[in-house]
C-alpha cells in the first residue's frame, strides 16, 4: 500500500532536509568562505557572510610559506599505499570468513572490531618507541603500515558483508570448472564484488587521508601529509584564521573532489544488499 503524502508535507520535508544538509555542510562552507577574506574580515564581529572583498592573498601566502606539493604527495602516497596494502590483505581475509567460516569466525570479526574501541592514544607510547627503535619516525612506509592496520578491521567487515551477498553456488561452479583458489578470487569473486570493493577502497582512502592522530605524532617533515600542513597553520599562528582556512581548504579540496565524483558509487556500495 502506497502511503499518500500531501504536497505541502513534501515541501516541508524537502525544506527540513535541506536545512539539516546545510547545517552539516556549514563549517566546511564557512572555512572556504573565510579563506577568501582578509585576516581582519575573518574575525570581524558581527561576521560577514558574502559581502567582503574577495581575495586570493591567503592562498598566495600559504603557497609561498610552505611546500604544498610535498604535503600533497605524502598524503597521496600514505593514503594510497595503506589502501592498496589493506585491500590486498582484506579481500582474502573476508573471502575466508564469508565462504569457509569456522566456529570462531564471528568471534574473530568481533575481536577485530574491538581493537577500534581502544583509544589510539593508549598505544601511542609503545608505537612511538617501536618507531624510534627501528628508525621509522617521520617515515612514509611506517605510516602506510600503521594506517593500514588501523583501518583493516573496518574494511574486512565491509568486504565480508559484500561477499556474503554473493551466492556460494557461483564460487562452487568456478571450483568445478577448474579454477584454483587464486582463479576463483581473481576471475569470479572480485569482478562480482567490484561495487563493494570500490566503495571500500574509497572509504579507506578517505579515512587514511583524514587520519590526524598518527600522522601528526609520527611525522615531522619528510613524511608529513596534509594534516600536518593544516596543523602547521593552527598552532603557532592561531589567530590567522584566513590563512588557516586557506590551508584547510587546500587540504580537503582533493578529497572533496574525489568524493563528489564517486558519490554515486559510494552510496551504492554502502547500501549494497540492503534492498534486494
Amino acid at each position: 500500500m502506497a502511503r499518500s503524502v500531501s504536497t505541502r508535507r513534501k515541501a516541508l520535508n524537502t525544506a527540513i532536509a535541506w536545512g539539516i544538509g546545510l547545517l552539516i555542510f556549514f563549517p566546511i562552507l564557512w572555512t572556504i568562505l573565510t579563506s577568501f577574506k582578509t585576516e581582519a574580515e575573518a574575525i570581524a564581529n558581527p561576521p560577514v557572510f558574502l559581502a567582503f572583498d574577495w581575495t586570493l592573498e591567503n592562498y598566495g601566502v600559504v603557497m609561498e610559506r610552505s611546500n604544498y606539493m610535498r604535503f600533497l604527495t605524502n598524503s597521496i602516497l600514505i593514503a594510497g599505499g595503506s589502501t592498496i596494502l589493506g585491500v590486498m590483505i582484506a579481500v582474502p581475509a573476508a573471502w575466508s570468513m564469508a565462504f569457509v567460516p569456522s566456529k570462531r569466525t564471528k568471534d574473530i570479526l568481533l575481536w577485530m572490531l574491538s581493537t577500534k574501541m581502544l583509544p589510539a592514544v593508549g598505544v601511542l607510547y609503545p608505537i612511538y618507541l617501536l618507531c624510534i627503535q627501528f628508525g621509522l619516525l617521520d617515515n612514509r612506509l611506517a605510516l602506510v603500515v600503521i594506517l593500514m592496520l588501523i583501518n583493516l578491521p573496518i574494511i574486512v567487515w565491509m568486504l565480508y558483508t559484500y561477499f556474503r551477498e554473493i551466492p556460494g553456488e557461483i564460487l562452487e561452479a568456478a571450483r568445478m570448472d577448474g579454477a584454483t583458489l587464486k582463479g576463483e578470487i581473481l576471475y569470479v569473486l572480485t569482478p562480482m564484488a567490484i561495487p563493494g570493493i570500490a566503495s571500500t577502497v574509497l572509504l579507506n582512502f578517505i579515512l587514511a587521508w583524514n587520519e590526524a592522530f598518527w600522522t601528526l605524532n609520527l611525522t615531522a617533515f619528510n613524511a608529513a601529509p596534509l594534516t600536518a600542513f593544516i596543523a602547521s597553520y593552527s598552532s603557532p599562528e592561531g589567530l590567522f584564521f584566513a590563512k588557516l582556512s586557506a590551508a584547510s581548504t587546500m587540504a580537503i579540496a582533493p578529497i572533496l573532489i574525489l568524493g563528489w565524483f564517486s558519490q554515486k558509487q559510494l552510496v551504492r556500495g554502502l547500501t549494497f544488499g540492503a534492498v534486494k
Binding site: E172, R175, M176, D177, A179, M192
Partner: protein, 334 residues
C-alpha cells in the same frame, strides 16, 4: 569413461550422520536419478561425488581411480546447479569458455568447442549477451553448455529444472534426455520430482534419510517397489495403501493398489464406496472414494472422461495381478 563407485561412503555434519555407510555403482554412460523427499541426502550425495563436500568415511572411485581426496576441479566432472550459477559479469561465450580457459586450452580449440556446444544447445543467437539478459530456460542452457564443453567423465545435475515453469520444464527434460542419447556420457541427476525421475532415468536411486531404499529401472520400481516408502513415492497419484482386515484377507499386513489399477462400476464390485471430489483432466479422471470401510479415502484413476457425481455410490474392484502385498516391516512379500 565415467564409471563411479561409492564404497561405504559416509557423511556427518558435526554429530549428525546424514549419510550412513552407502554403496552404489554408477555404470559408464548411465543416466542415474537420485530421488527422494527434501532432506533425504540426495544433494549431499551429489556434492560428495562432485568433491564440494568431503566424505567423512569410505571411498569414491572414478573409473577405478581413488578420487576421495581429489579436489573438484581434478575429478573430471561437470556440474549444473539449481540456481544456474552463471558468472553474471561474463557474456555467454565467456561463461562457456571459463572451464577451458582455466584448463589453459589454446584459443582455437576453445572456439571450436564453444561453437559446437552453442549449436547443440541453440545458444548461438545470444552468445554475446550477459546472463542477466536471458530467460530462465536460456540460462539453464548456458549452464549446460558450460558443462558440456569440458567433455567431462560425467555430468552432475542438482535439481536443474526446479526454477523453471512447468511448460519449460517438460521441454528441458526432453532436451537433457536427448543430450544424454547423443553424448552417451554418464549423468547423475538429483530431483525431488518423481515424474522427472521416471521419464529420464535409466536407473533410479530412491533415498530416504541418507539410506538407499531401492535401486532399479523406472518400471522395476513401479511394478515391484521393495517397500511401502518406495511404493508411495513412485507413481502419481500415490498408490493406495490399505491395512487391517482387508489386508489380512490377502495375506499381508498392508496391501497397495495403484489408482490406475482399480476398476470402477456403478453396479457391482469388491468394495463399495461413495464418490467425493472428482478431478477431470480430460485424458484422465481422478475420483476420491470415501466410506469404503478400508480406512482412508481411495484414489481411483480412470482413463478418459467418466461422469460420476459427488455422493454417487460406486463399486471398486482392484486388478488382482497388480495388488502389492507388504509384511509387518513394510517390506514387499513375494
Amino acid at each position: 569413461m565415467g564409471r563411479i563407485t561409492l564404497d561405504k561412503v559416509t557423511k556427518s555434519f558435526g554429530d549428525v550422520q546424514v549419510i550412513p555407510p552407502l554403496d552404489l555403482t554408477i555404470e559408464e554412460g548411465e543416466f542415474v536419478v537420485f530421488v527422494g523427499p527434501s532432506g533425504c541426502g540426495k544433494s549431499t550425495l551429489l556434492r560428495l561425488i562432485a568433491g564440494l563436500e568431503d566424505v567423512s568415511g569410505g571411498q569414491i572411485r572414478i573409473d577405478g581411480q581413488d578420487a576421495t581426496r581429489t579436489p573438484p576441479a581434478k575429478r573430471g566432472l561437470a556440474m549444473v546447479f539449481q540456481s544456474y550459477a552463471l558468472y553474471p559479469h561474463m557474456s555467454v561465450r565467456k561463461n562457456i569458455a571459463f572451464p577451458l580457459r582455466m584448463a589453459g586450452m589454446d584459443k582455437a580449440e576453445q572456439d571450436r568447442r564453444i561453437e559446437k556446444a552453442a549449436s547443440i544447445l541453440n545458444l548461438t543467437d545470444y552468445i554475446d549477451r550477459r546472463p542477466g539478459q536471458l530467460s530462465g530456460g536460456q540460462r539453464q542452457r548456458v549452464a549446460i553448455g558450460r558443462a558440456i564443453v569440458r567433455e567431462p567423465a560425467a555430468f552432475l545435475f542438482d535439481e536443474p529444472l526446479s526454477n523453471l515453469d512447468a511448460a519449460l520444464r517438460v521441454g528441458m527434460r526432453l532436451e537433457i534426455t536427448e543430450l544424454h542419447d547423443r553424448l552417451k556420457t554418464t549423468m547423475i541427476y538429483v530431483t525431488h520430482d518423481q515424474v522427472e525421475a521416471m521419464t529420464m532415468a535409466d536407473k533410479i536411486v530412491v533415498l530416504r534419510a541418507g539410506v538407499i531404499e531401492q535401486v532399479g529401472s523406472p518400471l522395476d520400481l513401479y511394478r515391484a517397489p521393495r517397500n511401502l516408502f518406495v511404493a508411495g513415492f513412485i507413481g502419481s497419484p500415490k498408490m493406495n495403501q490399505i491395512s487391517g482386515a482387508e489386508a489380512a484377507r490377502h495375506g499381508a499386513t498392508t496391501i497397495g493398489i495403484r489408482p490406475e489399477h482399480i476398476n470402477v462400476s456403478a453396479t457391482d464390485g469388491m468394495w463399495k464406496g461413495r464418490v467425493g471430489v472428482s478431478e477431470h483432466l480430460g485424458s484422465d479422471t481422478f475420483f476420491y472414494v470415501h466410506d469404503t470401510g478400508l480406512g482412508e479415502a481411495l484414489t481411483v484413476r480412470v482413463s478418459g472422461e467418466v461422469e460420476f457425481h459427488s455422493g454417487d455410490d460406486v463399486y471398486l474392484t482392484p486388478d488382482m495381478d497388480k495388488l502389492h502385498r507388504f509384511d509387518e516391516h513394510g517390506l514387499r512379500r513375494a
